[in-house]
């Protein structure tokens, strides 16, 4: 009995530890290093790990431009995720009920997820070019006023949201469709026998049963949206001015164009801490809300 237990522990560790150690080695040690760097005064004129204490942290809390970029990230994440959820759910409902040549449409609808965000953003840039882009070309053909896509704040924000919705709605679609396919059949039969309308069946049966899956899908998308960088880098380069700058881009600029290594490290850590807190709270709220009522 004793030996059985011993070997069991051995196998147990042999399964988990290689992966766990690999992940810890790749992520946790660099993270500790970033914390150390944030306490130094490493910049373009002075390289090295001296110790200046909380100087960078105090400076970061008063950096208006950084906190503006955090607000912007909140707006981007909120709007893109909501839009992706509503559209993804609609797509999943349409595909679930069976459409002509289903496989064709499913493949077509999945394609955006397979394309490279940073590269598709270049295509979006060519579409939203004010002078020679397709969008204003179509507007011109329809007799409408051209829009200043890249020189005004709202249109520029809109182009990012469009690119993100195009890119990631398929991901929502995929998770929600898989969820719909895994639902039990009985509640729908019951609703049909009761003569409930399609609208009522959706709100009373489908939507509540999908709540846990919806919550999971939204949280996953929020996590990915909180890191947005690629599309902003290639599409607007944070412009006009810094009107579409997000924290990733802001910190990247401090690092790789201004070499404010320690200050950038501090900002990136604040960004990480805020992301963890906000996402944990949202995750908890969603987990509560999506629990089936009554049991």
């Amino acid at each position: 009995m004793q030996t059985y237990k011993l070997t069991n522990t051995y196998y147990k560790r042999a399964f988990l530890l290689p992966g766990l150690i690999l992940l810890v080695a790749i992520i946790i040690f660099p993270l500790l290093f970033t914390i150390r760097v944030s306490l130094a005064g490493w910049n373009v004129s002075h390289a090295g790990l001296d110790f200046v204490g909380g100087h960078n942290w105090a400076r970061a809390f008063h950096d208006r431009l950084f906190w503006d970029s955090m607000n912007r990230l909140l707006i981007f994440s909120f709007f893109t995720t909501i839009l992706q959820y509503v559209l993804g759910f609609t797509m999943a409902m349409v595909a679930w009920r069976g459409i002509a040549s289903r496989r064709f449409f499913r493949v077509l609808w999945l394609i955006p997820m397979m394309t490279t965000p940073s590269v598709m953003a270049i295509v979006w840039r060519s579409i939203f070019r004010e002078d020679i882009g397709a969008a204003n070309g179509i507007f011109h053909g329809l007799g409408l006023h051209p829009i200043a896509w890249s020189t005004e704040i709202f249109p520029a924000t809109f182009t990012i949201i469009i690119a993100e919705v195009w890119q990631w709605t398929p991901f929502m679609f995929l998770i929600l469709l898989a969820g719909l396919l895994s639902l039990p059949k009985e509640p729908f039969l019951a609703a049909e026998i009761d003569g409930a309308s399609a609208w009522k069946t959706f709100w009373r049966v489908t939507f509540p049963m999908m709540a846990p899956i919806s919550a999971g899908a939204i949280v996953i998308r929020l996590i990915e949206a909180s890191k947005i960088f690629d599309s902003i880098f290639s599409l607007t380069s944070a412009g006009p001015g810094n009107a579409t700058e997000t924290p990733s881009y802001f910190v990247w600029k401090r690092y790789f164009t201004e070499f404010q290594i320690s200050y950038g490290a501090t900002l990136s850590l604040i960004y990480l801490i805020v992301a963890i807190i906000v996402l944990t709270i949202i995750g908890q709220i969603f987990a509560r809300l999506s629990k089936p009522k009554g049991d």
């Binding site: 069991n8 196998y11 147990k12 042999a14 399964f15 988990l16 290689p18 992966g19 690999l22 992940l23 790749i26 040690f29 660099p30 993270l31 290093f33 970033t34 760097v37 609609t90 349409v94 009920r97 459409i99 496989r103 077509l108 609808w109 999945l110 394609i111 397979m114 490279t116 590269v119 598709m120 270049i122 295509v123 060519s126 579409i127 070019r129 020679i132 882009g133 397709a134 070309g137 195009w166 998770i175 898989a178 969820g179 396919l181 895994s182 999971g216 996590i223 909180s226 890191k227 960088f229 880098f233 290639s234 990733s248 690092y255 290594i261 950038g264 490290a265 990136s268 850590l269 990480l272």
Partner: protein
């Protein structure tokens, strides 16, 4: 009513999906005049298609050659996917079958630890990665990029596979154990062969995320190991015209879009229905 809406939605959404792709295809064949002298849409009618955009990126005109970058992307994506799926499937199987614990830190917490690594914005780790790789002489090498990519891929793989293994009845393992297999052999000989759908989904996602990564490729590769997205983004940062950019964009996404036709089969089956719960 509902049917009209459905048809309309299918039509409008498919159009939306196709718009940027078809614009890129059309633009990649445009001669300079068709881009710079006003917006054109229809080849042969509004302009005469030319291959100059494609010649620019395939090393024919001497402007740029993306084939080495394609090779880098293929090598880095393949190996980081294989390694993260191997390590990830062992960890996921362990988490699905054994009880781990260290004080009040239990299985769900360990799974959450894996998954929560996705929250980490790449920018937090970019400076240490840069310095560590430089110290190890791995900056701008395939191996360096593969190691970095694994950190991003393993959380996805573990997250998808734990759930998949949970759906496989434990009786199957126990039967294999009764036959005289140790846990290792039971996993390799019995569980892995029937896990092909789950492994395919996990590998597909790993391929997508590895291929499409920009941030680390942008900052940690320069010439030798520069991946396709980083190379195309670098072209975007210069005065490269739109016909060449469109061709390079298509060159980057075509391999994965081709892959989409193969992967769709695994993805839209209920393979990871429960993963989001």
């Amino acid at each position: 009513m509902a049917k009209t809406f459905r048809t309309l939605f299918i039509f409008v959404w498919s159009l939306f999906v196709l718009t940027p792709l078809s614009w890129a295809v059309v633009t990649s064949f445009k001669p300079p005049a068709a881009v710079n002298n006003g917006v054109t849409f229809i080849p042969w009618v509004q302009f005469k298609p030319t291959l100059s955009g494609w010649k620019d990126i395939l090393g024919i005109s001497g402007y740029a050659n993306l084939f080495p970058n394609l090779w880098n992307s293929v090598v880095i994506t393949t190996f980081s996917t294989i390694i993260s799926v191997i390590f990830g499937c062992f960890a996921a199987y362990g988490l699905s079958r054994f009880n781990y614990g260290w004080k009040f830190y239990k299985n769900p917490d360990i799974i959450f630890f894996f998954v929560s690594q996705r929250i980490m914005p790449p920018v937090v780790l970019s400076i240490p990665f840069f310095l560590f790789l430089k110290t190890l002489h791995l900056l701008d090498t395939h191996l360096g990029m593969i190691i970095i990519n694994i950190a991003g891929l393993m959380p996805i793989v573990v997250w998808l596979l734990v759930d998949f293994f949970n759906q496989i009845p434990r009786e199957i393992d126990e039967l294999a154990r009764l036959e005289g297999c140790n846990p290792f052999m039971a996993f390799l000989k019995v569980i892995l062969p029937i896990s092909r759908p789950g492994l395919s989904v996990a590998a597909t996602f790993a391929v997508i995320f590895a291929w499409n990564d920009l941030f680390f490729a942008l900052n940690l590769t320069f010439t030798n190991a520069k991946t396709l997205p980083a190379a195309v983004v670098a072209l975007n940062g210069t005065v490269t015209p739109f016909w060449t950019l469109s061709a390079s964009a298509l060159f980057t996404i075509i391999p994965l879009v081709g892959f989409a036709f193969v992967a769709e089969r695994f993805l839209s089956r209920g393979g990871f229905a429960g993963a989001s719960r």
